[in-house]
C-alpha cells in the first residue's frame, strides 16, 4: 500500500467513526435531555403531563410534611406559582423549607409533580444556580434571600 492509500484509508476510517459518533450524539441530545423549568414556566410553556423535566425553586415554607410511610410531599415555589411534589425515597441532607431545591421527575395530569430525584446543594445558604438565575430573571431574587440577594 502506498503512503497515499494508507492516508486515505486512515482518513476515511476516521470520518466514518467520527460521523457515527456525531450521529449518536445528535440523536441522544434530542432524545435524552431534560429541560429545566420553574413552576411558573411549567404553566407558561404549557408543559404536557407525562413530560420529564427538572423543576427548580424553593421548598415552600409550611408545605413540607413528614413522610407518610416513605412518601414525602411538599411544594416547590418560585414565589409566583407553586407545584405540589411527591417523592418516594430519602431526601438529601440539606433539604429544608425555604431552601433551594431541584427535583427531577414527571409532571402528572392533575398538575402535581412526581419526583424520582431531589437535589439540594451541599452548602447551607445555597440556592441552585439555576433557580437563582431564574428568580433574578423574574425580578424575585430580593424576596428570596435577604443576606446575599441583589435586586436586578
Amino acid at each position: 500500500m502506498t503512503r497515499k492509500q494508507t492516508r486515505t484509508a486512515f482518513i476515511l476510517a476516521s470520518l466514518a467513526i467520527l460521523g457515527l459518533a456525531a450521529g449518536l450524539i445528535l440523536y441522544a441530545i434530542r432524545d435524552t435531555i431534560v429541560f429545566f423549568y420553574t413552576p411558573s414556566e411549567v404553566t407558561e410553556k404549557m408543559v404536557q403531563p407525562g413530560t420529564r423535566l427538572r423543576l427548580g425553586g424553593l421548598v415552600e415554607k409550611g408545605s413540607f410534611k413528614p413522610a407518610e410511610g416513605t412518601i414525602y410531599s411538599f411544594r416547590i415555589t418560585d414565589t409566583a406559582k407553586a407545584l405540589p411534589v411527591t417523592y418516594k425515597g430519602q431526601l438529601p441532607d440539606l433539604f429544608r423549607e425555604g431552601q433551594g431545591v431541584v427535583a427531577e421527575g414527571v409532571l402528572q395530569a392533575d398538575g402535581s409533580f412526581t419526583a424520582d430525584t431531589v437535589l439540594a446543594k451541599h452548602d447551607e445558604n445555597y440556592m441552585p444556580k439555576d433557580v437563582a438565575d431564574r428568580l433574578k430573571e423574574k425580578g424575585l431574587w430580593q424576596h428570596m434571600e435577604q443576606q446575599g440577594g441583589q435586586p436586578q
Binding site: M1, R3, T6, A9, F10, A13, S14, I17, L18, L20, A21, L24, I25, Y27, A28, I29, D31, T32, I33, V34, F35, F36, R54, K65, P66, A67, E68, G69, T70, K88, G89, Q90, L91, D93, L94, E104, K121, H122, D123, E124, P128, K129, D130, D133, R134
Partner: protein
C-alpha cells in the same frame, strides 16, 4: 508572619517562573549551554519556593491561625489533624496552590531526571513548564491569594465542609492533580518538540513514562473520587456523569489514547503529528477541567467559590495555552517528517482505531458536558444532560474498543493477518462465553446485557492473560522454558496485561452493579426488618451520637442471612458543629460479590425511620479494577526500557555549547 512569608515566597516563585520561561528558551535559540542550564536550577528553585509557600499555608492550618482568611473560612480548631491537613486543599485558594505545587514537582522531576535529554530539548521543556507555572502563579498572586489576612481574627473558624471530611477525599485531590497536572509534562514535551521541529523514537520514549505516571495517578484519583461518591454522598451510585467527574474523565481518555499512540512513534516512527496533537489535547482538557471546576460555571461540590473574575482569569490562561499550542502545531506540524508505512490491518492500524474510538468517546463526553453551558449562554434555555445521554453515546462508542482490546497486542507490526489472531484467541472468547453462560445457569437471571457484560469482562481478562501465555510460548515449548520466558518478559508486558485485565474487572463491576442492583426504601420501626437480595436488614434502634466535631443520631442495623448473623452496621446522621450542617454516613458491609448499603433517613409521621437498604452487587470490582489498572501503570513504569538510560538519540545533532 509566616503567612506573609508564604505570600512573599509565592511572589518570588512567580519571578523565578518568569526567569525559567525566558532564559532557557533564549539559551536554546542561541545554543548557549549556560543559559539552557539555567532552566534546571530555576525549576528546582521554583519547586522549593512553592513548597515553602505550601508549607506556610499548612502551618497556618495546623496552628489554626484564624487571622488568615482562608483558614478562618475553612478550618476549625476541633477538627481532627488529618482534616486540618486536607483542609489546605479543600478550598479554592489552597487547591490552586496544590495545583501549582504539583506542577513544580513535575518540573523539578524533569530537571533532575532528564539528564539524558538533549540539552536544548530539556531547556525548552522546562521553559514551557515554567510558563504554565508563571500563568497559574500570577493567577494565585493576583486573584486567589491564600494568605489573605482577616482583621480582626475570629476566635473560631467556620470549619471544613463536612462532606469533605473523609479519608478518601483527603487524598483524592493530590492524586487527581498528580494525574491532571502531570499531563503538563507531555504538553511541554510536545510544544518543545514543535519548537525544535523534531519528533523521533527517542522523543516518544522520553514522553511515555511521564504520560504513564500521569495516567496511573489519574486512574487512581478518579477511582478514589468515585469511591468517595459511592459511600460518602450516600446516593448509592459510583458515577453520575456529573460535569466535574467528566472534567477528570476527558483527560483520562485522551491520556489513554496518548499512551498507545506514543508506542507507535517509539516503535515505528509513525503517527508523530497525531501524538503531538494528543499531548496538547490531553493537557488542554486538564485546563478545561480546571476551568470548569474552579471558575464556578458549574454548581457542584467542587465549585468552592463563585467568582466571575477568577473564572475569567482561568479562561484567559486556558485560551492562551490551548490557542498558542494549537497555533504552533498548525505552523510546525506539516514540517515534521512522517515515517513508518503500515497496512490498515496491523498493530499500528489497531492502535489508530483505539485512538479514534477513545477520541470519539471523549468528544461525546465533551459535548454532553459543555452543551448545556453553551446552550444557556446562547439561548438562555436551561437543560440537563444526564446519564441517559452518556449511556447512549459513550456506551456504543467504547464497546467496540473493549471488544477489540485483546486482539490488539496479537497483531503484528506493519502488516497483520486476521486469521492467526483468531487462532490465538478463540479459546479465550470461547471460555469467556462459557463462563458467562455458567453464571446464567447458576444465578438464573438476566437480562442478556448482564450476561454479555460478564462475557466482555472475562474476554478482557482472559485476553490479557492470553497475551502473556502466548508470549511465553506456553504449550509449544516445555513448561520450564515457558516459565523462564515468562519471567524474562519485559515488565511493560505485565503492565499492559494488568491494565487491560483491570479494565475487564471494572467492566464486570460496572455492568453488574448497574443491572443487578436491588434497592428498597421502607419505613422501619425498631425491631422491624426488610429483605434485600436474600439478606435481612433489621433496624435495631437508634441512639445519640457524639463525635469530635459533630453530634447527631445513629441507627443500628443487623444483617442476617438465613438466620445467621452476617454483620452489624451503623448509619449516622451527623450534625457538624460550627456550621450545623447535616451529613449522612452510610452503613456499609463490603463483600467480594457485593456490598450491603444501609442509609438511615428522616423520621416519618408514625415515628418510623425511612430506611434505604441496597444490595450493590460486584461494587468492589469497580475499585479493584481501577486499582489493578493503576498497578499496571506503575509496573510498566519500572520497565528497564523506560528506566535506564536507553533513550539516547542516535547521532542527534546536539547543540554545541557556546564557548567563550
Amino acid at each position: 508572619m509566616i503567612a506573609e512569608l508564604g505570600h512573599f515566597v509565592l511572589i518570588l516563585a512567580l519571578a523565578v517562573a518568569a526567569y525559567q520561561t525566558i532564559v532557557p528558551l533564549y539559551g536554546a535559540a542561541r545554543g548557549d549551554g549556560r543559559l539552557m542550564a539555567a532552566g534546571t536550577v530555576a525549576s528546582l528553585a521554583q519547586f522549593a519556593l512553592v513548597m515553602a509557600a505550601f508549607m506556610a499555608l499548612m502551618q497556618a492550618y495546623l496552628s489554626s491561625d484564624f487571622s488568615v482568611l482562608n483558614v478562618a473560612e475553612n478550618s476549625h480548631s476541633d477538627k481532627p489533624l488529618i482534616y486540618k491537613i486536607s483542609g489546605v486543599w479543600g478550598n479554592h485558594e489552597g487547591s490552586m496552590l496544590l495545583w501549582v505545587l504539583i506542577l513544580s514537582i513535575f518540573g523539578a522531576a524533569v530537571a533532575l531526571f532528564g539528564n539524558n535529554l538533549p540539552q536544548s530539548l530539556k531547556a525548552r521543556i522546562l521553559s514551557v513548564q515554567g510558563s504554565i507555572g508563571f500563568a497559574f502563579l500570577l493567577f494565585i498572586v493576583v486573584a486567589s491569594n491564600p494568605f489573605q489576612r482577616l482583621n480582626p481574627a475570629p476566635v473560631e473558624g467556620n470549619g471544613l465542609n463536612p462532606i469533605l471530611q473523609d479519608p478518601a477525599l483527603a487524598f483524592h485531590p493530590p492524586f487527581l492533580y498528580a494525574g491532571y497536572v502531570g499531563l503538563s509534562i507531555a504538553f511541554s514535551f510536545a510544544v518543545a518538540a514543535l519548537i525544535e521541529g523534531r519528533v523521533d523514537a527517542a522523543w516518544a520514549r522520553w514522553v511515555r513514562p511521564w504520560t504513564l505516571v500521569s495516567w496511573a495517578f489519574l486512574t487512581l484519583g478518579i477511582g478514589m473520587g468515585s469511591w468517595w461518591a459511592y459511600y460518602e454522598l450516600g446516593w448509592g451510585g459510583f458515577w453520575f456523569w456529573d460535569p466535574v467527574e467528566n472534567a477528570s474523565f476527558m483527560p483520562w481518555l485522551i491520556a489513554t489514547a496518548l499512551l498507545h499512540s506514543a508506542v507507535v512513534v517509539e516503535k515505528r516512527g509513525a503517527l508523530k503529528i497525531w501524538t503531538i496533537l494528543l499531548s496538547i489535547l490531553a493537557f488542554s482538557l486538564s485546563l478545561v477541567g480546571t476551568f470548569l471546576v474552579r471558575s464556578g460555571v458549574l454548581t457542584s461540590v467542587h465549585a468552592f467559590a463563585v467568582d466571575p473574575s477568577r473564572g475569567f482569569f482561568i479562561l484567559m490562561i486556558l485560551a492562551f495555552f490551548v490557542g498558542g499550542s494549537l497555533t504552533l502545531f498548525a505552523l510546525r506540524a506539516p514540517s515534521l517528517k512522517t515515517g513508518g508505512l503500515f497496512a490498515p490491518l496491523s498493530r499500528e492500524g489497531g492502535l489508530v482505531l483505539n485512538n479514534l474510538l477513545l477520541c470519539a468517546a471523549c468528544a461525546a463526553v465533551f459535548i454532553g458536558t459543555l452543551y448545556p453551558l453553551g446552550l444557556e449562554t446562547l439561548t438562555g434555555e436551561k437543560i440537563s444532560v444526564g446519564p441517559p445521554f452518556f449511556n447512549l453515546t459513550f456506551g456504543p462508542i467504547i464497546l467496540p474498543l473493549l471488544l477489540l482490546v485483546p486482539a490488539g497486542p496479537m497483531l503484528t507490526w506493519k502488516r497483520a493477518e486476521a486469521w492467526p489472531v483468531v487462532q490465538r484467541l478463540w479459546w479465550a472468547a470461547a471460555a469467556a462465553i462459557c463462563l458467562s453462560l455458567l453464571v446464567l445457569v447458576i444465578t438464573q437471571r438476566g437480562p442478556w446485557l448482564a450476561i454479555a457484560g460478564i462475557a466482555l469482562g472475562a474476554w478482557l481478562v482472559l485476553g490479557a492473560a492470553a497475551d502473556l501465555v502466548l508470549r511465553a510460548n506456553f504449550g509449544r515449548v516445555p513448561i520450564s522454558v515457558a516459565w523462564a520466558r515468562l519471567s524474562g518478559l519485559p515488565r511493560s508486558a505485565f503492565g499492559t496485561a494488568l491494565a487491560h485485565g483491570g479494565a475487564g474487572i471494572l467492566v464486570i463491576g460496572v455492568i453488574l452493579l448497574s443491572l443487578w442492583r436491588e434497592e428498597h426504601i421502607v419505613a422501619l420501626k425498631p425491631g422491624e426488618s426488610v429483605a434485600v437480595a436474600g439478606y435481612t436488614v433489621t433496624f435495631d434502634g437508634e441512639a445519640p451520637l457524639r463525635g469530635p466535631n459533630y453530634g447527631g443520631r445513629l441507627g443500628r442495623f443487623s444483617i442476617t442471612r438465613d438466620g445467621a448473623r452476617i454483620a452489624d452496621v451503623v448509619s449516622e446522621k451527623r450534625i457538624f458543629e460550627p456550621s450545623n450542617m447535616p451529613t449522612t454516613e452510610v452503613g456499609l458491609v463490603q463483600g467480594f460479590w457485593g456490598d450491603i448499603y444501609v442509609v438511615l433517613g428522616d423520621m416519618e409521621t408514625n415515628g418510623a425511620r425511612v430506611v434505604r437498604a441496597t444490595y450493590q452487587p460486584m461494587a468492589s470490582w469497580i475499585w479493584i479494577g481501577a486499582t489493578v489498572m493503576f498497578l499496571g501503570g506503575l509496573l510498566s513504569l519500572t520497565d528497564r526500557r523506560l528506566r535506564i538510560g536507553v533513550p539516547k538519540r542516535a547521532a542527534a545533532p546536539l547543540p554545541v555549547p557556546a564557548v567563550e
